[in-house]
Subunit: 262 residues, 2 copies
């Protein structure tokens, strides 16, 4: 990794970037994952590079859902494995969720590398290598484990493909997505859409899980029942709009004052 | 490159993505260029993946400026060399601009590879290997050719770093930027900010250059004098806002109706 001085104003963003580059270099992240990371960077900039109140509200409902689940599964891809491996292992531990590696650009070699990567960070069983069941999809994401994603009732799918999210919802699973684009097919089709950076989301969810793991089920159920995903998506759009407006004003650029608009 | 069916709804975006991946594989594009490409993809989505009227207005003014220039230079980096090599050569020919390779993550090997790449596409002289002058910058972009960027009066800097753009403007050069983020330091500091995808911009500029190359200088000067860059930036913000609003409405997500806002 390149050396970035900790006092650099973009330190966190640059270190995060380097983690994905490193993921490609050690073979756990596909090279296309870098482009996806860049897309996320822009959306993160637009939501203000912070966990909004409504994103925290979604994270809390997501954790309640995971704690109530009978067969919770956390899906892991090359970008999440590069960015938050320790945190994924911890969250799986507290919520008793299974970890399953599931890749869009699937290769057996990369699946095994990611499984080893997670185990080196303390993971117990990591699913994904069996591939003994199929979802109705035309790419590598279709191949899943029968004991894992296939039979899960609640799934956490960070950095997901739109068509898989829809497919999982159609299978009557509760799907928790982490996606910085509130208008992606994933965000639009998920049961809970966390519009936040994964590097902030998973640590927050760990904290919520620690706080809530002894809470009685009927109270967790109430958190889930009261949750409103449309409000979350609407608020994310509002945040983006505010960021753009505030930044335009700060830079002296007329906002929504385009001549053709008058 | 992967095979993408031409009828795929995201064909152009996927082919463009593959060109940058290929650039990394053949060693002309730095791996960080993929993340930058992803950031651009999001902004392109937000401006509607089209050349807006105001972007075309900026492209026309930019071409007038290049045609009027005494020492025009087109700066080439790893992403532009991967995406539009033929088009850069053609635009340089018509506007009599020099091509100069200039890299943030500078390495002699990569400079020579890009020079060879451009020459294989028909370029004559390509500058950038001498590096006999310096700009006031702390990264590889500082190293320039005395006969090229250092003494240019008008520069086209597609996909630029914010601090270099400001430095070039401070040196009293006229700087034409191509940048999909209207709020980037580059867009904010450039003389002409073209908020458009480079794969659409350079072909459009070639067309404008062909149309305008016989036009009398005083008429070109008028195009330049009447140009208003703040209008261009303001309109790009307006486009982004419209895209977000229209998409939210289309998806049934309340727009700017967030409870905390009432």
């Amino acid at each position: 990794m390149s050396r970035i001085p900790p006092d650099h104003p973009r330190y966190l963003s640059l270190v995060t970037r380097d983690k994905v580059v490193e993921g490609v270099k050690i073979g756990i992240t596909d090279i296309h994952g870098l482009i996806a990371h860049g897309r996320g960077e822009t959306f993160d900039y637009l939501i203000g590079e912070k966990t909004t109140d409504m994103a925290a509200y979604a994270q809390r409902a997501a954790v309640a859902m995971l704690l109530l689940a009978k067969r919770p599964v956390i899906s892991v891809n090359g970008n999440t494995a590069a960015l938050v491996p320790d945190e994924l292992v911890t969250l799986a531990d507290i919520t008793r969720a299974k970890l399953e590696v599931n890749l869009f650009h699937r290769s057996e070699a990369r699946i095994h590398k990611i499984i080893r990567h997670l185990k080196s960070r303390g993971a117990g069983v990591v699913l994904g290598h069996k591939g003994d069941a199929r979802l109705d999809l035309s790419h590598g994401r279709a191949i899943v484990d029968k004991d894992g994603i296939y039979s899960a009732d609640v799934m956490l799918v960070p950095l997901e493909d739109g068509d898989r999210c829809q497919t999982l919802v159609n299978m009557d699973k509760k799907v928790i997505a982490i996606d910085l684009n509130p208008l992606s097919r994933t965000s639009l089709s998920a049961t809970v859409s966390i519009v936040d950076n994964i590097i902030r989301s998973i640590p927050n969810m760990i904290q919520f899980a620690r706080d809530m793991k002894e809470v009685e089920p009927y109270r967790l159920q109430k958190v889930v029942d009261l949750y409103d995903n449309r409000k979350v998506l609407s608020s994310a759009m509002y945040e983006i709009n505010e960021t753009l407006k505030n930044e335009a004003v700060r830079q002296g650029i007329p906002w929504n004052n385009f001549p053709e608009n008058e």
